[in-house]
Point group: C2
Chain length 522, copies 2
Amino acid sequence: MSKTKYINKIGIEIPAYIEGIGALQPYSGSFTKLKKGIMEEPSIPPPNKSILPHKSKLKKSIKRAIQACNPHDGMTISFHHHLRGGDAVLMQVMEVIAAMGIKDITLASSSLTSAHDGIVPMIMDETITGIFSSGVRGELGLTISHGHLKKPAVIHSHGGRVRGVHTGRINIDIAVIAASASDEEGNATGSHGPSAFGSLGYACIDARYAKNVIVVTDNLVEYPCIPPSIPQNFVDFVVKVDSIGDPKKIATGTTRITKSPLDLRIAKLASEVITKSNYFKDGISFQVGAGGASLAVAKFIRTAMKEKQIKGSFLLGGITSYGVDMLNEGLFRAIFDVQSFDAAVSSSILNNPNHVEIPAGYYANPYNSGCVINKLDVVVLGALEIDTNFNVNVITGSEGDIRGASGGHSDTAAGAHMTVVVCPSFRGRIPIIKKKINNVVTPGETIDVVVTERGICINPLRKDLLQQFAQSNLQIRTIEDLEEEVRGICGETKPVEYEDRIVAVVEYRDGTIIDVIKQIKE
Amino acid sequence: MSKTKYINKIGIEIPAYIEGIGALQPYSGSFTKLKKGIMEEPSIPPPNKSILPHKSKLKKSIKRAIQACNPHDGMTISFHHHLRGGDAVLMQVMEVIAAMGIKDITLASSSLTSAHDGIVPMIMDETITGIFSSGVRGELGLTISHGHLKKPAVIHSHGGRVRGVHTGRINIDIAVIAASASDEEGNATGSHGPSAFGSLGYACIDARYAKNVIVVTDNLVEYPCIPPSIPQNFVDFVVKVDSIGDPKKIATGTTRITKSPLDLRIAKLASEVITKSNYFKDGISFQVGAGGASLAVAKFIRTAMKEKQIKGSFLLGGITSYGVDMLNEGLFRAIFDVQSFDAAVSSSILNNPNHVEIPAGYYANPYNSGCVINKLDVVVLGALEIDTNFNVNVITGSEGDIRGASGGHSDTAAGAHMTVVVCPSFRGRIPIIKKKINNVVTPGETIDVVVTERGICINPLRKDLLQQFAQSNLQIRTIEDLEEEVRGICGETKPVEYEDRIVAVVEYRDGTIIDVIKQIKE
């Protein structure tokens, strides 16, 4: 008899099969599968197409373009989220599709933001029954957490999404690619035009694998559109719309440097950990995640690099204007940009050859000959919760509701020489450092340092770091000790009450399941 | 009973099966298959790999790198030919492999030049038993023509090669990519370094599909190497050698503008055909092939564009310094460069964002959502022979020996609005315009105009062109009339005598067989 469930490497029960998703594999360690040198799950061939010379790809409306793509019940449609809170393309397209009466759609967006709350009614009426995304927020998160999505959502990392498309787990029927400039053949970019938003990194894999690819732009330019971030040979149809959205809404919330004194203090501490580590030297490569204190670390590192006259190798990841300034100041030789966290970054992608737009596979796919995160020295990441095994939750809030994003968190944590998580030890009397957290996205074995306002914890697996910092004046303490102190301040927390039903699975970057998210009890 | 042979659309007998190659399909018309909107032959999935973070890809020697790639009898090894007559990588690698005693190898180089005559002994001792290439010249051509290669060679077009890799007909075990600069992760380029040679366009598909990818460079640079023309996530090993070759030998022979008065006269006539056509207007896109008169046409078009103040869209193909000058003069908005015909072009690729390095699939693969040749207005090509049905031979000489290259000939002829072939009507008493030619590479239905020193022939299929030029002072005549005149001058030619054995097949870009090349009688 085959197994009906597993206990994965971090002790979480994973069903062997979930209706609507299929067979699951339990998480078995960050590098267990990568060590094998191959991907066990076979990949699928990209689709084969042909077109006659000089045939037009232009369609008069989104509806016409969708109609040309053999739309059908049960199809999978993909989007990219570079326009973040300013995106107007996903909703425009989904409204057209909903009006066409198509049902049972799987929505595969590289992430979902507050701009996509409008799909909630489409979940309620089963227009959308499945979701693949690296993040879910707002109304949409609550809708899923309360069990309204028919099939459990799959939360993936940015690198894992590329793997999922290669293997056909995400088998895209129609990819919709928003572009701030495109020509009539679909050479498309986000690097110029009135709605410029920067990198198109997440959309590259969709363009290669989707059975139908539609470029949607508000800026149809003379042929050829340069740079062809998405090359014409992958694009089937091109549609001009009035607006793809508001790029000013990209740089909000999690993509701005905090003004909170607490976060700034934590960021300062984290920068000291970095500058006192052996990695802080010429050739250092560096990434900071979005949100709270993590972005602020860049500010302090910038100053420290100038003081010590250190010249780094590359900056990676979601790229802010801060990163571009550091490139222009000569602090780093290059930027690899899979996602621009500020529309202002676009002109740097366009004009600076050392600001390199990269596909998500190049960024973080664990199953290729070596993505860029494998070259990272230091990454600074945020957290919603951390347990005493250093496991990190970035997907569910303290009430157990889905309200975050996996993003590149587990990818970069696995790749970097030193992964530093920055967060307060508690927020508003709710502990962040806990014995048991609601969900796990990134396994503790890939987290090296946790920096809070109440001290710094080093993962005991990293004896080398403990030794390095032993001589420093850094306030190092065990995470058990910190957890106890936090519990003393906040008191025991009442665990969230869940139903039995699984509403989402958290996929690790290698395709195994690291956690399941359950329906919240009303 | 299944068929043992076919007669293809241009009346040539094609066997249904050839030992060592497999089942063959007869050529059925240039667009018959493309009209279907899909590729019938299924494509294969790209290989799946994985690697641990921070693991070195550097190998101390070519031998060590080959040893790491599971070398074995019967394997397929691929190369690109951007260094043309100056290439030193193919021979260095093949000598190592031959010394290792590996036999029955299929050599899949995007083309082969005089720099590769050294593989003749490897053919004789069956180290190499199969060849895929777009061109074969010199000693190597004679060796194949005289029946010494065990399996028939497959001559493909540049676009067709990409299709062949996608379908697995060319199933690459080891791809070797020569780079003028690479970092230790294999981010590789031909655009800078002492041996800079320009575009790496042909190697892109090999990098994506080969089970093992080795970058060979004489210029290992600090990480990251920018631009990553070949991105690190496809590269398994990196080797530093003393020299990848001599880029000064790229711009020789077929890549220089002719000084022959006859060729210049033909080129002038061809430029008149173009400037008097309806395609000569703002937005014109243009490609000239290598060799003889065709490259010289660019010279006259340049002057005409300046005089008429015409601003073109893009220049395509093998790119010379002439093309770069035209870009810099503002005569074209962009260059798409799959192969640089002059090492001096490299700095333009590196520094001019409108000089775009493109993969061969983007250039000419018939099986995608639309390659760039599909947007071409005018292409000017050469010919070794042309028959009165406008079929063109660019692969075998008047003695029937293999000495040419398919290259992008049939690709661009299929894509362009107007395909102009330039050649003398005879050379040294040997007719070029003939009733029956030795071999066909490009079908006559894709050739629109033939320009010789004795007049201009328009394909009767192009009634629109005949009408356009009716009012002009161009000396238009039928190709039958021209052939008769040439025959009057040169006399009847004795047909080449062949054995029955097929030594090579000429694959059309869609994978069907347009012709077979037979062994020459001694």
